[in-house]
């Protein structure tokens, strides 16, 4: 008679409580990043789940005392790049002079920043704004999300994306510029800003 028993053991057993205690508090920020990157709640749900499962699997590789949020974020970003990223076509060529000229014209009518924002983009739908953000290439979108929506510091973003603070700053500048062009394009299509 031959018998064997299947060992149902988890190599990470015992670390589970510690893992949950460290990781679960960061669920919201990761879900929001997943939502803005994938563009829909179903994919964000899956991406979050994959991220946590991978993090659990590699928990022994996490260096205790370092920034666990940045570590989780990097796992999510890599998973997103491998599984969910869709090719973003090159942004349409926009005549930036056109944008600057238009801004100059409406700037003459009003110097109040809130009033200008309302005049320019106040009529845009929330969906237009979301689409404009989603149209940004991944490296620019990431820093805009982390800085403008999640309100992280440049230093923390730099740790998240593993690049110098100066690179974060230049990506933010470039990302916002692209975003402005995109918002202008939507406003123009909807007839909310002048068509020359």
């Amino acid at each position: 008679m031959f018998a064997f028993s299947l060992a149902i053991t988890n190599p990470m057993k015992g670390l589970h409580k510690e893992f949950e205690k460290e990781v679960i508090p960061h669920t919201d920020i990761l879900y929001n990043y997943a939502l803005r990157m994938t563009g829909n709640a179903d994919d964000a749900h899956d991406l979050l789940q994959e991220t946590f499962l991978k993090a659990y699997r590699f928990w022994d590789k996490y260096e205790k005392g370092t920034n666990v949020r940045a570590w989780l974020f990097r796992i999510m970003k890599n998973t997103y790049i491998n599984v969910y990223r869709k090719a973003i076509k090159e942004p349409d060529t926009v005549d930036y002079n056109d944008i600057q000229n238009f801004y100059n014209i409406i700037r003459e009518d009003s110097a109040d920043a809130n009033d200008l924002q309302e005049k320019l983009f106040g009529h845009l739908l929330d969906d237009d704004v979301t689409k404009a953000l989603e149209s940004l290439p991944e490296e620019f979108r990431t820093v805009v999300i982390l800085c403008d929506i999640e309100e992280l510091t440049y230093e923390e973003i730099a740790e998240f994306v593993e690049c110098p603070v100066g690179t974060v700053r230049s990506r933010l500048h470039r990302g916002r510029k692209l975003l402005y062009s995109k918002l202008f394009e939507y406003a123009k299509k909807r007839g909310f800003v002048g068509k020359d």
């Binding site: 031959f2 064997f4 299947l6 053991t9 669920t27 899956d46 200008l116 320019l120 979301t130 403008d148």
Partner: protein, 274 residues
Amino acid sequence: MDCREFEELITEAVDDRLRAGNKRHFSDHANVCPSCRNEFEMEQITKGVMRGRIHHETTPRETYFAVLSSLRQSGSTSSNWLTLIFGEAFLNPAVALVALLMVAVGAVSLLQKSNAIPISTEKNIITQSINNYSAAMTGLLKPTLISHDPGDVKDYLSKDTPFDVSVASLEGCDWCGGVLSEVDGVRLVHVVYKIGGEGILYVYQVDMNEALRGNKIGLPENVKAVLAKTGWYFEQTPDLCNVVLWRHKNTLCAAVSKMERAKMVALLNDKDPL
């Protein structure tokens, strides 16, 4: 401050991070250079639109609990992994009742064996595979890792496994999971796939040489002969489970499922193992 220096500081100014020394120079330049001032304001407006229109959202409760649940399944702290792989179907009261009864029967035998799970007492690999398929169906054979990504499962199972583990990216697969075991020093790999609408596909894997030697586990001579000749072996159990054996590199794989044999073969044959 010239226009180039001003542009380099725009983003920090928008985020209110300018050092005191730069603030005045920045402001002085903005007052005399409308073009630079406009650039600054346009970036400020863009940030204002983002903050005003896109809000930080709270993770939906169902997502939060699904994540917690999958983590706890992964942590193997609960035996209810079937809920995860069966998904909504398992929430059907009739299915749940039958499964719970089966698990209860399994739990009694589990207690009798002092935490050892008697998956199979057979030396014959085919019988072992069929028994293990039943154990997977009743929840006694629990994957210690479940993922959407077959690569994760393969990496996990490949650690210290002396043969090539096959975890394929199967069409229509909702989840796959894996668990390792050993018998008399022989490593065994168990992979479970949840195929949408088709149920469970279980794949047993062992070193081919070990299976051919037959010292600790083995195959009947007629099965070995068919495998050597055609590369495949098929069998159907009295309760209509299909068993398919094939060779993957230096590994013997035995798949068991209630799926139709042709469908099973097409699924397994069509995909390059990862």
